[in-house]
Symmetry: C2
Subunit: 299 residues, 2 copies
């Protein structure tokens, strides 16, 4: 078998980004860490760590790191069956989640579990499943509805988005109505290249592809703040803007035309026993914040 004390050193370097911090975490000297990584690299005949600020993994290094993390997870479920539990640090769950879920309900799910540490990867709901497919996370909040190989898939409901802008912004750009002509000139917010929500909604509402001028803002809260500040309109999760809408600080461009994005919790079956509490918490909190999925969407 592989040398797991060497692999633990590798995991600690990649988790913390430095040999010094890895040494602190494992209560050894940095030179001991350095030697273990070197031995591992010599034995496998391949570079595993790109030395830098921070240290990052090569492709093989990343693969080994995933393996160590998975073994640690399996070990933690083993502990529950042992008469004497060896002392161990809480297990870290690496999970891919979309930014808007993190901004609205996912923290509550994390907080209602105990004894886990979370390492969150943020990615678009249309792309978070790829992390799971690549084996880089043990679970994902995703728009991908069919189970990924080796995973269980739970429906969570839909996150409702409202196209929102400030009243001043609407007076300036949509004074003559929300027409194609106006939309093509009015600055619009976009999270990043992966964000299709504004384009999808415009297609749904106006039945056409438009390409408005864009502000690129990769943060859920910044999206709301930018709408409040009158920089542009954007698709904001209802839970983040409901108070602003009620107070009139934001208005819905088309109040009766929200965009519902169905979300799913997919989790690796091999660590199901460890993830049980987390899955329960995720399903519970999602049901409180998300809306039921419409099976027959309006045409």
């Amino acid at each position: 078998m592989l040398d797991y004390s060497h692999l633990s050193a590798l995991a600690a370097v990649l988790r913390t980004g430095s040999f010094e911090r890895a040494a602190q975490q494992l209560h050894v000297t940095p030179s001991a860490i350095s030697q273990r990584i070197k031995l591992l690299e010599e034995r496998l005949g391949v570079v595993l760590v790109i030395r830098g600020q921070p240290c990052t993994a090569t492709e093989v290094g990343q693969r080994l790191y995933q393996h160590v993390e998975q073994v640690a997870l399996l070990e933690s479920s083993l502990h529950q069956n042992l008469p004497v539990r060896p002392e161990s640090r809480p297990v870290t769950l690496r999970i891919a989640v979309n930014a808007d879920s993190l901004a609205t309900w996912f923290i509550a799910a994390m907080a209602s579990t105990d004894g886990y540490l979370f390492d969150l990867m943020l990615d678009d709901q249309d792309h978070s499943a790829e992390w799971l497919r690549r084996g880089e996370v043990v679970a994902a909040v995703t728009a991908h509805s069919t189970p990924i190989q080796g995973c269980d898939c739970h429906s969570l409901g839909a996150l409702r988005y409202i196209a929102t802008a400030s009243p001043q912004y609407c007076a300036r750009w949509f004074a003559d109505g929300f027409s194609e002509h106006a939309v093509a000139r009015a600055p619009c917010l976009i999270f990043n290249q992966k964000d299709q929500l504004q384009a999808e909604w415009l297609q749904q509402v106006l039945g056409t592809n438009l390409y408005p001028p864009l502000h690129w803002l990769p943060s859920s809260q910044a999206f709301v703040d930018a709408a409040l500040a009158g920089l542009g309109w954007g698709m904001n999760p209802e839970p983040l803007v409901i108070d602003h809408l009620r107070a009139g600080r934001l208005v819905a461009l088309k109040p009766d035309q929200p965009l519902d994005v169905p979300l799913f919790w997919q989790q690796s079956r091999i660590v199901s026993s460890v993830l049980g509490d987390v899955t329960r918490a995720v399903l519970h909190e999602a049901s409180a914040m998300l809306v039921p999925v419409q099976l027959a969407p309006k045409q």
Copy 2:
């Protein structure tokens, strides 16, 4: 000279991530876009675009993209001196900014300018200057205090951070005081591998390197939400937590020991004339939100 209609097609593909959206933006067909990129690649003898969802740049493609964007910026400052202004889209400014500045004051600066579009790259304040050094942005909010080659550097003041947690969290983990022993066991929040703020503050307060169990949360607002939910303690920007502190929803672990992070606005000199309004707005909004930098920090 290079063919700028071909280069515009390249820029549109890389900005929007797809040939279809680039075509919409330039009012041509996707096959026209495809042909321009192909001609450019054939002429230069190198692949420029990695076709995918989204399309991304090769190294040479990225370099050309930066060049086109810079030419567009220079052109926009030329327009001010022309008797007849050619019709053109608003200019997009690509700027690197740290997440906590975006969450606290940067949106206000953006909103107090007019006629610009913003394309924000989020990175740690200790790393945002690298974007500028690589020529991938025209300006950066950074902790880097010496002017980067070809750039002007303005001091902005310091963003004040407070080590914060919920009262329930403190009762559970720090009931016997904020000792090394307690800190080594109490879950701590960290933004990502680049985030040194918690480690720096622990070093300042306890005079020692500690490695607490970590939750990894790459979002400014999630950091505050996680502190409120009792998941861990973390260094939060004072403007984001001041109301929670006053209302008792959060407490400062050491009220008299904040961590001040001096920030600077560095901007490429070649586009100074275009960036004038933005620089003024940035300096103005920063002065309202940041604290004066202490020249002789307490030992």
